[in-house]
């Protein structure tokens, strides 16, 4: 009851291997990894740059831009902006490029997913 190998009899391991080796699945994997890996590297470097500047470029970060608003504050707020932006870009990419392919392959495998609550 509590193990995690509920693979129905209809889909033997061979079936999954065949799907994994199909061109369609390779395309899905490319669509996912081609977006998330570069994006992860990008936001991590962007964040690292912010932390490193906070540690080592104090004069630059302290430069006042207008009133009491300095570079450090703007840089920090830009981290919020980039986070919101990447989240939005990913959601758009997933809606267009990932979900349709994933749905199609799932249907081909022919399994009914549990709890297909329409409120998703």
């Amino acid at each position: 009851m509590s193990t995690d190998t509920p693979a129905p009899a209809a889909s033997t391991p061979d079936r999954y291997l065949a799907v994994q080796r199909s061109d369609e699945f390779a395309g899905l994997r490319r669509a996912l990894r081609g977006f998330v890996f570069p994006m992860t590297v990008a936001f991590f470097l962007w964040y690292a740059l912010y932390v490193i500047l906070s540690a080592y470029a104090r004069d630059f970060m302290g430069t006042k831009l207008f009133g009491n608003i300095n570079v450090a504050l703007i840089f920090g707020l830009l981290q919020f902006v980039s986070t919101f932006l990447i989240a939005w870009l990913y959601s758009r990419h997933a809606d267009r490029k990932i979900d349709p392919v994933a749905d199609r392959i799932r249907d081909e495998i022919g399994e009914v997913t549990h709890g297909s609550d329409p409120r998703g």
Binding site: M1, S2, T3, D4, P6, A7, S11, P13, Y16, L17, V19, Q20, F25, L28, R29, L32, F35, V36, M39, T40, F43, F44, Y47, Y50, V51, S54, A55, Y56, R58, M61, G62, K64, G67, N68, I69, N70, A72, L73, G76, Q79, F80, T83, F84, I86, A87, W88, S91, A94, A102, D103, I105, I109, E111, T113, H114, G115, S116, D117, R119, G120
Partner: protein
């Protein structure tokens, strides 16, 4: 004299109002919990709320689970006392959600069932991997749990205004602390054992709305006071901090430059980088956050919940900026440190000042203070319930059902054990918190994040993306990262060899950084890699199943 009397009357009003509001919150959440218990019949109901929550509901619950008292009171306090450096925390805590969104949430939702270990053990030998995952889940959750409960104890005296020499219901400040820890512990045990994931989720949703409501009102009041001119708020904060422009720049708290001591300066800067990396990589390894992704029906809903969570958490951290600088400007550093040296009461104190200004007089101050204090307690309760659920799920599902019973336990037995586990873990946490009352809260949270980032995250990422990864790799990654984090902290200045250490009079410190992440996170990844290569085990068929299921949702629970 009149003023003192008025202030005394104000503090009594505040105390009564805080207690009333808190009791209302408790009554409402208990009613929800009892309702939820009637809907909880299967293991899926108990562990995953029947997977029936919408993306929006789960997003709010994630916010309620994540925005702990450390975020609300801690970050506002850090900003109030050290200015800009408190903001570094908010940014790390927010950016971290991209790791969860891009790499973890959907794949975990598709391939797992109830716990983090479901994914880690998917293609591995069950017993060693689940044991390791249970050990690390419980370690992370207990550190985090202690932080919240000790924090609750420390706050109660301040929030209820129990001063040295005075008593409340016959309790002095120390007794009130212990009573609070026991009360918080008892409530979290009830939420989890009775309401399971459904009850816990609704508690977290209610709390998220209360916390956001409180933060929005206070932010609007602060900004109104400065005619919505951020620059003049910052200027005022910098002026009353007595530190001038430096208050608005990084460097007062983290990466401090010590004149004439280049070694210490170097270590301080490394410590800042270490904190930064632990914050950003820790979130996606926190078990109580990961199990929230199982409460929605599909991967798409899991994605939506993270998007909502990023929205609410990001907004909240922007608000804490106004709260922190507002407290610095309107309350002032001296008044804050006089109440609490760590600055944890900055937000409630700000509420009092704003209440006096906007609602009128001491009564107004007392009212707003009471509201914010009650919100702070609600915050703590929602977070500890999530942590208790995560650790009891792991104990029951991973350790009891899959290690001890080798997968032969019935669903009913498993849920019963989960409930008993929640009781035991709750009781243990209460006892530990009473002993650990003097531990530094920030230290416990940092340790939880470091263990999550060093032990759990490498194992999760390798599991999901690396075909060759195997049992030995998973076990090495978890234990290696966990041990590295714990050992380095033990020999760090946080524990000994510094005036602010846990044992200030002893010195066995040799690791110079307070946060181990810079070393322990790469070490965890390295361990997972070495552990994998030294074992011949390799199961391409199982990886095919995991990958296909994770990416498409085929066969998802």
């Amino acid at each position: 004299m009149d003023q003192i009397l008025a202030a005394e009357a104000g503090s009594t009003t505040a105390r009564n109002l805080t207690i009333t509001l808190f009791l209302i919150f408790v009554a409402v959440t208990l009613a929800i919990t009892i309702w939820a218990s009637r809907q909880t019949k299967t293991a899926t109901d108990f562990y995953a709320g029947g997977r029936s929550f919408s993306g929006f509901q789960n997003g709010m619950a994630i916010g309620g689970d994540y925005m702990s008292a450390a975020s609300f009171l801690g970050i506002a306090g850090l900003i109030a006392l050290y200015g800009y450096d408190g903001f570094l925390y908010s940014i790390g805590f927010l950016v971290a959600w991209l790791v969860a969104l891009l790499l973890v949430a959907e794949l975990l939702r598709n391939s797992g069932r109830y716990t983090m270990a479901d994914v880690l053990a998917f293609r591995m030998r069950q017993r060693p991997v689940r044991t390791a995952a249970a050990v690390s889940t419980i370690t992370v959750s207990i550190f985090y749990l202690l932080a919240q409960m000790v924090g609750a104890g420390a706050l109660v005296a301040l929030l209820l205004g129990i001063k040295p020499g005075t008593t409340f219901l016959g309790m002095d400040a120390d007794a009130a602390k212990i009573a609070t820890i026991i009360l918080v512990g008892a409530l979290m045990i009830i939420y989890v054992t009775v309401g399971g994931m459904k009850g816990t989720t609704y508690v977290q949703i209610v709390k998220a709305f209360l916390l956001m409501g409180g933060a929005v009102i206070m932010t609007l009041l602060v900004l109104a006071k400065y005619k919505f001119n951020l620059s003049s708020l910052l200027g005022d904060a910098a002026a009353s901090s007595g530190k001038g422009a430096a208050f608005l720049e990084p460097g007062l708290r983290y990466g401090v430059e010590v004149a004439g001591n280049s070694t210490q300066t170097f270590y301080n800067k490394m410590d800042l980088l270490s904190l930064g990396i632990a914050l950003v990589l820790g979130t996606a390894g926190l078990p109580h956050i990961l199990i929230r992704f199982y409460t929605v029906p599909t991967a798409k809903a899991a994605r939506k919940s993270v998007l909502w969570a990023i929205g609410i958490i990001g907004t909240f951290y922007l608000l804490t900026l106004a709260l922190g600088f507002g407290a610095a400007a309107l309350v002032g550093g001296e008044a804050i440190t006089a109440q609490d040296r760590a600055g944890n009461t900055a937000a409630p104190q700000l509420a009092q000042v704003l209440g006096v200004d906007f609602l009128g007089g001491d009564l107004g101050g007392a009212t707003l203070l009471a509201i914010i204090a009650a919100v702070a307690f609600a915050t703590i309760l929602a977070v500890v319930a999530g942590l208790t659920l995560a650790s009891s799920s792991s104990l029951a599902h991973d350790f009891y059902a899959n290690v001890l019973k080798k997968g032969e336990a019935s669903e009913r037995q498993e849920v019963r054990v989960a409930r008993i586990s929640a009781l035991v873990i709750g009781a243990v946490s209460i006892a530990l918190s009473i002993f650990a009352q003097n531990l530094n809260v920030a230290f416990l949270v940092a340790l939880a994040f470091a263990v999550a980032a060093s032990g759990n995250l490498p194992a999760i990422l390798y599991s999901l993306f690396w075909k060759r990864f195997n049992t030995s790799g998973a076990v090495w990654a978890i234990y290696g990262g966990l041990l590295a984090a714990v050992v380095l902290v033990f020999f760090s200045p946080v524990v000994s060899g510094a005036p602010t250490a846990m044992f200030p009079d002893h010195d066995w410190q040799w690791f110079p950084l307070s946060n181990p992440g810079l070393i322990s996170i790469p070490f965890g990844f390295l361990c997972g890699w070495i552990g994998t290569l030294i074992s011949k085990e390799r199961d391409d068929e199982k990886y095919a199943e995991l990958e296909v299921r994770a990416l498409t949702g085929a066969g998802a629970h």
